[in-house]
Symmetry: C2
Subunit: 346 residues, 2 copies
């Protein structure tokens, strides 16, 4: 909760630290205290993962993401898959089906051409799966020791269907909170391969494009309130961001949050909380109660939503705060993470 309640700690922190890229409170501070004032933008909620813009009579979602994941290849995917699905999913969270992507490479001198080719092929395959076209690109090279193999930025545009208006500000008490499946998988997959840990079974990243799942949900009703893909900072960061922006309280039934046993075990060993671990192929939806059962059924009928469940609801109490009801009947506050437990997971 630091960024929302304390005075400007950024000013006491004269240098960038890893946490500024973690998607938690420190990232929010950087945006709120440096970028938004500098760009003279539309206020604190202006510089979001995905912007809705009007141009030439069309209502578009426009999004950007840079990818610096280590290692470049991991169980279940690669930086190329992430680079496509990350931006496709940001657009999907605006209700848009991704249409066109850009691709900017920053390569480090000395990286093998073969590695670049494998990454590019993974991007191409992911783009075909997601039904999106890479139409413009750029490549820069930096001297050996001034980069880290391959960094990728993708940006994307997609059309927002009429009647769709997904914003945290639309969330109201009574809304039902649904997640599309197991949480914590991507972060644990990266951690296990990076640290050379083995947990009996190989945990594969859940990296996937969510445009089709979102379309299936919007076919039930365009009146969903907000969607988020809980990447950096995990489910906890997404829920806190929505509670804060909507001024509502959120109650999560901890037992209802789906965590696969291998992920739970790995988290226990590593001292991680699955609520804070990144996902790359999951979404959390805030749905008006009247539509919740139908939306849930539509999600379960889609391969990427087969394990969707309701995990909580929006309440009048404790505005701006996320609370979990524990298995033992107690409650605990689910804070906005400060930085990221696990840097460079995307």
């Amino acid at each position: 909760m630091l960024s929302w309640t304390c005075p400007a700690p950024l000013r006491d922190q004269p240098r960038v630290v890893m946490g500024h890229g973690g998607g938690g409170a420190m990232s929010a501070e950087l945006v709120e205290q440096i970028f938004t004032p500098a760009f003279g933008g539309p206020g604190p909620s202006g510089l979001t993962d995905s912007a809705a813009v009007e141009i030439g009579g069309a209502r578009l979602a426009f999004s950007t993401d840079s990818f610096v994941v280590r290692p470049l290849f991991f169980p279940g995917g690669s930086i190329g898959d992430l680079a496509v699905n990350g931006t496709v999913n940001d657009l999907a969270m605006s209700g848009a089906r991704a249409a066109y992507l850009s691709c900017g490479f920053i390569l480090e001198e000395g990286v093998a051409i073969d590695v670049v080719e494998r990454v590019a092929r993974a991007m191409g395959a992911a783009a075909r799966t997601a039904g999106v076209e890479v139409v413009t690109g750029d490549t820069k090279v930096v001297e050996s020791g001034h980069g880290d193999g391959v960094f990728i930025n993708t940006s994307g545009i997609g059309l927002i269907p009429p009647g769709v208006d997904l914003r945290p500000e639309r969330v109201v008490p009574g809304d039902v909170v649904i997640v599309s499946g197991a949480v914590g998988v991507h972060g644990v997959a990266i951690m296990s391969v990076r640290e050379g840990l083995e947990f009996g079974v190989e945990i594969e990243s859940d990296c996937a494009p969510l445009g089709g799942l979102v379309e299936a949900m919007l076919a039930v009703t365009p009146d969903l309130h907000v969607l988020r893909d809980p990447t950096r900072g995990g489910l906890a960061a997404s829920l806190n961001e929505i509670a804060s922006a909507s001024g509502t309280g959120i109650v999560v039934q901890e037992r209802a949050v789906p965590v696969p046993p291998p992920v739970a075990n790995a988290c226990a060993v590593l001292g991680l909380d699955p609520m804070y671990v990144a996902n790359e192929g999951k979404l959390v939806a805030f749905v008006p109660r009247a539509h919740a059962e139908q939306v849930l059924a539509a999600m379960r009928a889609h391969p990427l939503g087969a394990d969707a469940v309701m995990i909580g609801e929006v309440v009048d109490a404790h505005p701006g705060m996320v609370v979990a009801r524990t298995a033992l009947g107690g409650t605990r506050v689910v804070d906005l993470p400060l930085g990221e437990q696990l840097p460079r997971i995307c």
Copy 2:
């Protein structure tokens, strides 16, 4: 001419070298041999600096660029100015007025927050000057030693006006080649500060947004054939790319190419050819002869085109080749540069 005539030298070069980011033949090889096949795109001309796409009934230009310039601040600008103007100009070369930008930062752990703030402020100021809005962003942080202070990607979208269709394929013999002003300035400005060289006068980067100048030109006639901002690889790379894509020959009057004396002197000292040095606020236009005088007059009436001049013409002879007529009456071939004389100038 290497990339257009020789068999696949990329395969003999198993690792990325600086030249792959130089905007010359090696960059083209990377795109043609790795990225275009991997992305399964629309062929060799598909992955351009700026793509024209249809979405929701609107015809948009969509472009991306990453910026890795060293140093971050230089006479006449900063990486922030480049990041905004570079993408604004790529869109302008499609005839589009930039409307919205995205901004992706990759920060190195340990960089001063003050530096990030100065860069962001420069971006904000440049965006206001160019009349474009930064609407979506992303920040990643990499460990100290795995980045280089600040890398920025910007992507942008803008509306292409009806009747405007700027493509090298439209170039025909008889077209007049016009540059909007002095060439070689940005590259020499970066080089002088990076190498601590002094040339009597400080040479400032020409970094500027070209959307207004392009609008003034299109107001004369929407029937311009192609526009390019000769950045990496300089005027030589832009002219070669157009000659190759259009299958025409280009003849340049060497004496007509405007090179300010301080830039000419610096190039002489450094062994650089101003035709190959990057610009960041200049454009080269291919204009039907019938409109050339009027377009030139419109350019000269604009502050960023005050020194515009005709430098050559398109011919039937030597298709795909650029030839310069020298001051002494001879001719020389102006090759596509292989890599870049001066890496990381943008």
